[in-house]
């Protein structure tokens, strides 16, 4: 099987799945729809695995597989063709997307079986995967942008899946518009890069990236990368444009799992990693990214504390984990960022699906205050959820611990890192541990607050199997990239992750110049403090929410004003509406009234009236009175005569 065919099959399988389901979207046979969609994913997963092993077989330097299908744009010397590249980075992304995707398709068969639009749901899902694959495999920024847009569209379609409910439809719209704003910035970045480098191909761009660091803010690379980063914030829900993610929970839970945990939100991080040489040569952008990443992590974690909807909590935790990834990328630890992306994909997808099965069991009840003590009823969901919880709070030896710790260490140790960033990271970790434990306590442990009408039950096999697989992955995936410090005690497991990414990631130039090298003991102390702090906040949350339920409220009243601020999500939505959206609408209304109604319409009416009046005027000439005609003739004659005489 040559590579071209493999990539083609990989790409076309979800597309075919989408088309088949698309044409029979009215049928409610969820088994058929589900099986078509899932089999399409399985095919592309198999191809991804084959490709991965093909890459492994290659020598490290030339680990790239190219496939060009047709010339898309050929204007002058600017040529973009539908070219796809599989190399170290995109192969990992492929595995995550197709792997997690297949599991989520499997899960959603069970989850969506009672829904009328199930076939439509599966066709959207397949279409989403197809777009994500284009985004990831694209060999130029423009092809990536196609995927970028396609993904935005599918997220809109899937969030607003139950569009009959106006709130859900509004959420879909909100997601789409915020993404579009981000995309606009992305496009500007594209133009700037094209203007300065003349090409959009990743390989060429990375090669052209200037070796010297760009000092000022107005440089081409800095501006371009900054714009790209703003596009990334839109897609990956960072500080300015994150507002759409919490509302995106309006969509079905598997959708949130797939799109808002594993794949779409990571697109921004993937883009930065893909263009890391370019970002490296723009230190100021890196600094901005790091700061925003850290800020988002802390801010989202605080909001997570006060949320009562199980999916909202997970949504804010996603935002904060993405903050961590951007923090890693901001300080130059592209490998750590990539690793956290992978581990996060696993345990967050796991938790979302777990929440999905909880909601499924609780007959669409999402408020954690009405849950509790589900441990007894949903054994598998509970234990898989526990795995996810341990991973996310960074319990040692679990995947979350390795990737998060790596990020924190780099935040401190990297030449572009800073102690402040490390402190923010640790605070974020503490908060994450607290609200995750709160979630666990309120839903699974503690007294059952479920009202009589609902009697929760364990989900069917098709939903639990994916949970189990993901739980295993969440637990084990950390060992792929064990930091050197720990690996000595664990029998020298080689850090596969670094070797794998090493040829693609560009080292920070400052590393060579740097005089100070951090000692191993330093690393241990930092690691120790972060773990201890995280575990202590977890136990505190455990105690507050299982033993003494009332204590949470007491604390809330103690810091009333702060609590209200956080509870209302810092009034960001209200601010946006007040400051930007409403004035915009008001202005457009005014414009409509003055320009359209009064000016343009008036002009058109003027023209029509003119013709009508002249018509009426001329009509009187034709009244059949012969003598009048004779008169006109004679007047004409008189005119001609006088003209001739006067001349």
């Amino acid at each position: 099987m040559n590579h071209q065919a493999l990539i083609a099959i990989l790409l076309l399988a979800p597309l075919v799945g989408f088309l088949i389901n698309g044409f029979r979207f009215r049928s409610q046979n969820y088994i058929a729809a589900g099986s078509i969609a899932t089999s399409a994913l399985i095919i592309s997963f198999i191809c991804a695995v084959i490709l991965f092993f093909e890459l492994v077989g290659m020598s490290p330097e030339s680990r790239t597989i190219k496939a060009e299908f047709f010339d898309w744009i050929a204007v002058g010397n600017f040529k973009v063709n539908a070219g796809f590249v599989v190399d170290q980075i995109s192969s990992i992304m492929l595995l995550i997307i197709t792997g997690v995707g297949t599991l989520i398709h499997l899960f959603s068969i069970g989850y969506m079986h009672h829904d009328k639009g199930v076939t439509k749901y599966f066709s959207y899902l397949n279409f989403f995967i197809f777009n994500m694959l284009i985004l990831v495999l694209g060999d130029s920024l423009l092809t990536m942008f196609v995927g970028w847009e396609g993904v935005g569209l599918c997220s809109y379609l899937l969030i607003g899946f139950w569009f009959s409910d106006s709130a859900k439809a509004a959420a879909g719209m909100k997601a789409f518009i915020t993404n579009r704003i981000g995309d606009a910035a992305f496009l500007l970045g594209l133009f700037i890069l094209f203007m300065s480098f003349g090409t959009l191909n990743f390989h060429e761009l990375n090669a052209l990236a200037p070796a010297t660091m760009e000092a000022g803010w107005m440089g081409a690379v800095t501006l371009g990368t900054l714009m790209l980063f703003i596009g990334a914030t839109g897609k990956s829900a960072q500080i300015p444009l994150y507002v759409w993610l919490p509302d995106a929970m309006a969509g079905p839970t598997p959708v949130s799992a797939l799109i808002h945990a594993a794949t779409m939100v990571t697109a921004g991080v993937y883009m930065i990693i893909r263009l890391n040489p370019l970002f490296v040569s723009a230190p100021n952008t890196m600094m901005v990214i790091a700061i925003i990443g850290a800020a988002t992590a802390v801010m989202a974690a605080t909001i997570g504390l006060t949320q009562n909807d199980i999916k909202k909590v997970l949504a804010y935790s996603t935002v904060s984990q993405l903050g961590y990834m951007f923090l890693a990328v901001g300080v130059g630890a592209f490998g750590a960022g990539m690793m956290h992306l992978m581990t996060h994909a696993f345990f967050k997808a796991l938790m979302f699906l777990g929440a999905g099965s909880v909601i499924h069991g609780m007959v669409d009840e999402q408020d954690i205050r009405k849950m509790g003590g589900l441990k007894k009823y949903m054994k598998i969901t509970h234990w898989t959820f526990v795995m996810g919880w341990l991973a996310i709070i960074g319990f040692p030896l679990f995947s979350g611990f390795f990737s998060k710790d790596e990020i924190l260490w780099n935040a401190y140790s990297s030449p572009r890192g800073h102690i402040g960033l490390w402190i923010a990271g640790v605070v974020g970790a503490m908060l994450t541990a607290f609200y995750m434990t709160r979630l666990m306590a309120l839903t699974f442990w503690g007294k059952s607050r479920v009202d009589q009408s609902v009697h929760p039950h364990e989900s069917s096999a098709s939903m639990t199997i994916p949970l189990i697989i993901l739980a295993v992955l969440a637990a084990v995936s950390g060992f792929v990239g064990v930091p050197h410090v720990i690996s000595e005690y664990l029998g020298h497991i080689p850090n596969f992750w670094e070797h794998w990414l090493e040829p693609v990631i560009r080292k920070l130039p400052e590393v060579e110049l740097q005089s100070v090298t951090h000692s191993v003991s330093e690393e241990w102390t930092l690691m120790g403090t972060s773990v201890v702090l995280a575990l202590s906040s977890a136990t505190a949350a455990f105690i507050m929410y299982t033993k003494k339920l009332g204590s949470a409220d007491k604390v809330a009243n103690a810091i009333k004003p702060v609590y209200d601020l956080i509870d209302n999500k810092y009034y960001v939505d209200e601010f946006y509406f007040g400051a930007i959206i409403n004035p915009l609408i008001a202005q457009s209304k005014k414009l409509w009234y003055y320009v359209d109604v009064n000016f343009i319409d008036k002009m058109t009416y003027a023209v029509t009236d003119f013709t009508q009046n002249t018509g009426k005027l001329v009509k009187t000439l034709q009244n059949g009175n012969m003598q009048q005609y004779a008169m006109y003739i004679s007047l004409g004659l008189v005119a001609v005569l006088s003209f001739v005489l006067m001349r």
Binding site: Q627, L635, V638, L641
Partner: protein
Amino acid sequence: MSMDTVLFWFLSLIVIVPALAVVLLSNPVYSALSLVMTMVGVAAVFATLNAYFLAGVQLIVYTGAVMVLFVMVLMLFDLKHDLQTFSRGKVSGFLKIAGVGVMAGLLVGAISLATKKPSLIVEGSPLANELAAAAASGADNTKILAENLFLRNMLGFEILGVLLLVIAVGTVALSRSKGGTHARD
């Protein structure tokens, strides 16, 4: 005051006064008869212009045939006199009269202006003399007229023959039609 001048002024009187009567008299029969008078006057004017045959033809064709038809039709209709002889309408009326007035002024102006230009044939030229002699001879210039008519304008002559035939057929068909689809009598 040679004979011709007196004759011209008298004849122009005979032509113009009945012409005005044609337009002004309210009883159409009277205007028809005054038109006959005008035709006779015009025939006399032709005579003063040495076009004797034309004067005769004018008398026969116009006075003898066309006006008879007019008078006969008028008498057949037994129209005593019109209720409104002139078409009403203040503005259009004024416009018409103004138009006609200005027309008359312009025409007379044009003609008087024309005197400035030399006549087509220079007075003294041999051609003028020869033609003048022929004209002055008082010989009936019908010969020249006939020659011109039959030799040079043969086509016109034949077409007119056809025209007269066509009109004969047309008018007979027209008059014999029952006056449209639902004539009363």
